[in-house]
Structures are given as structure tokens and as C-alpha cells.
């Protein structure tokens, strides 16, 4: 559809009510959305693995022995706050205010770092108690699922820092705006995945 847009701005082949084609123009956003959907499938597979193996404790520790719900609630709060602050950054970007946008991005990064720090603390605590990934099928799938999400957040933070440098050097050019919008989708998507993690892994784990 972007192709048709490029080739002929004057000749319009589509129907009158197809406004999306004419004004959309950014195939990058659709492509990135499809990437996110494929990422969603990766997480779906990991959730399925956890669903199948999550009950195989191998006479080892069960979720009730390991999980600390207040800590998970704190972690969830961090990620949710980082989501809303990234939204504020996008609003500032729409108004063209570079300074306050960068400030909100810093806040987002700090909340993201806090999330990662709490998660690493939790992992270290589990491993210290002998609940290593090798201990049981439950722990293998737990570390894989939560660890994959944590890795995504890590790369999101790297991306965030890179974009902040890009914006400080080149300003809010169209390319940077597009990149920031892609990261926005990525960041909110990770928050959506985390909803699944805290519900199916932590809360359901405590109910088992």
C-alpha cells in the first residue's frame, strides 16, 4: 500500500472509504507490529511449555515455597509505571518538546532498570536457595519464560539508551520519531506479556 502511495499521489485507485491506505503511509509500523505478533508466538510457546511442565516439581520446591507476591507486585508496579511514563514521552514527542520527552524517557529507563534489578534479585534469591533451572521441569520452564521476558526488557533498555543518544544528536527527525514509536509498541507489548506472566506464573502458582 505504501508503494501505491509513492508511485502516484494523484492517481487514486482505491475506493473512497479506504482512507487508511491514503493517509497511513508508514509500512514500518505495520511491519513492526507483525514482528511483535511473532514475538507473541514465542511467548505463547514458552507459556505452553510452562503450562505443561509447571507442575513437575521433581520433589523439589513448589511455587508456594518460592514466590514472594509482594515483590512481584512491586515489580509489576515498576513495569506499569514505565509504560505510562513512556506514554507521556510519546505525548511530549507529538508536541515536539525534546527536553521533556528525553526526561520522561530517562524516567522510563529508570523504572525499567528497577524492574530488571528486582527480577535479578529474585533470580539470585531462587538460585541461592537451590532452586536453580536444573532442579526441576517447573524451574527450567520458569527461568526460561521469565528470563526471556527479562531479556526483552534488557534489549528494550539498550534500545532506549541508543534512541536517547540519537535524539540528542539529531533531534526529533522523522526517522527518530518512527524509531521511538516502534520502541513504544515494543515497550507496551512487554507490559502486556508481563500481565500473562504475573497471572499465570505467580498468581496461579500460589493457588496450586
Amino acid at each position: 500500500m505504501a508503494l501505491a502511495h509513492d508511485v502516484s499521489d494523484d492517481t487514486i485507485f482505491h475506493l473512497e472509504d479506504d482512507h487508511g491506505l491514503a493517509e497511513g503511509g508508514s509500512s514500518t509500523m505495520l511491519g513492526f507490529w507483525i514482528y511483535l505478533m511473532s514475538d507473541c508466538l514465542i511467548f505463547a510457546m514458552l507459556f505452553a511449555v510452562y503450562g505443561v511442565l509447571g507442575g513437575n516439581y521433581a520433589a523439589g520446591p513448589a511455587p508456594k515455597d518460592l514466590f514472594d507476591l509482594p515483590l512481584v507486585a512491586l515489580n509489576t508496579t515498576m513495569l506499569l509505571l514505565s509504560s505510562i511514563t513512556y506514554g507521556f514521552a510519546m505525548l511530549e514527542m507529538a508536541k515536539g518538546r525534546v527536553g521533556s520527552m528525553q526526561a520522561w524517557l530517562v524516567v522510563t529507563g529508570l523504572f525499567g532498570l528497577a524492574f530488571l534489578g528486582i527480577e535479578l534479585y529474585e533470580f539470585a534469591h531462587l538460585i541461592h536457595e537451590g532452586a536453580t533451572p536444573q532442579r526441576s521441569g517447573f524451574l527450567s520452564s520458569l527461568f526460561t519464560l521469565v528470563g526471556t521476558h527479562g531479556l526483552h526488557v534488557t534489549f528494550g533498555l539498550v534500545w532506549l539508551v541508543v534512541l536517547m543518544v540519537q535524539v540528542s544528536r539529531h533531534g526529533l527527525i522523522a526517522a527518530n520519531q518512527r524509531r521511538l514509536m516502534c520502541l513504544s509498541m515494543f515497550w507496551h507489548f512487554l507490559d502486556v506479556i508481563w500481565i500473562g506472566v504475573f497471572t499465570f506464573v505467580y498468581l496461579m502458582g500460589m493457588l496450586r
Partner: protein, 126 residues
């Protein structure tokens, strides 16, 4: 994507180029709903308010589904119009795959586990 489009994006910043940045009200609404939809399931599990594990499990799953929809609408700005509906099509396709993979895996493996139980009486199987 044409250069003219880029210039347009830079000048107007919002609303005119078909990309939804959302609004402050939208983000705050989504955030408020998310806080409530997160707090209730945590409270349900931590206080065991329902007193029934199955009821609690169903409740927290329902809250998760609602919260995912809230995030999709208020943070990811999902709607049937963006990209002429192709984002919605991709999402629906993904959801179908996810449902097949999850239910298929859980269903098959559950029955495998049941049949592998020691002492299971195979003579009663059809």
C-alpha cells in the same frame, strides 16, 4: 514512504499523519484501569478472599484478559482502522495460533500425564 510524508510528520507532529499517539486522558484512563485490574487479582490471591481456588483462578484469568484488552486499546492504540485494519488482522491471526498452541499443548499433555500415572487401570480405557 515519501519524503513529503516525513516533512508532513515533522511539521504537524500529530493527528494528521494517521499515527495515533494517544492522548493524556487515554493514557491516564488506561493506567488507572490497569492499576485496579492488577491490584484486585493480587488482593484476591494474597487474602484468599474467595476461599475457593478454582473460583480465584477463574477470576484472576478474567482480570488478566480484561487488562490485556485495556493495554491493547489505551497503550498500544489498537483499533480496527489503523493500517486499514491489517494490524487487527495480524492480531486475530496470532490469537488463533496462540489459542491452538496453548489449548492443544495443555490438552494433549494433560491426557498423557493422566495415562502415565502409576497404577492407572488401563482396562477401563475405551
Amino acid at each position: 514512504m515519501s519524503a513529503g510524508h516525513h516533512a508532513d510528520t515533522k511539521e504537524h507532529g500529530h493527528a494528521d499523519h494517521g499515527v495515533d499517539h494517544g492522548s493524556l486522558r487515554g493514557y491516564l484512563t488506561g493506567f488507572g484501569l490497569s492499576v485496579v485490574l492488577t491490584a484486585i487479582p493480587f488482593a484476591l490471591v494474597m487474602s484468599n478472599a474467595l476461599g475457593n481456588q478454582m473460583a480465584s483462578a477463574i477470576a484472576i484469568m478474567a482480570f488478566a484478559v480484561v487488562q490485556i484488552v485495556v493495554h491493547m486499546v489505551f497503550f498500544l492504540h489498537m483499533n480496527t482502522r489503523s493500517e486499514s485494519g491489517w494490524t487487527m488482522m495480524a492480531l486475530i491471526f496470532t490469537l488463533i495460533l496462540v489459542v491452538i498452541a496453548l489449548t492443544g499443548s495443555l490438552w494433549v499433555m494433560y491426557h498423557l500425564n493422566i495415562n502415565m500415572m502409576p497404577g492407572h487401570d488401563m482396562s477401563q480405557m475405551p
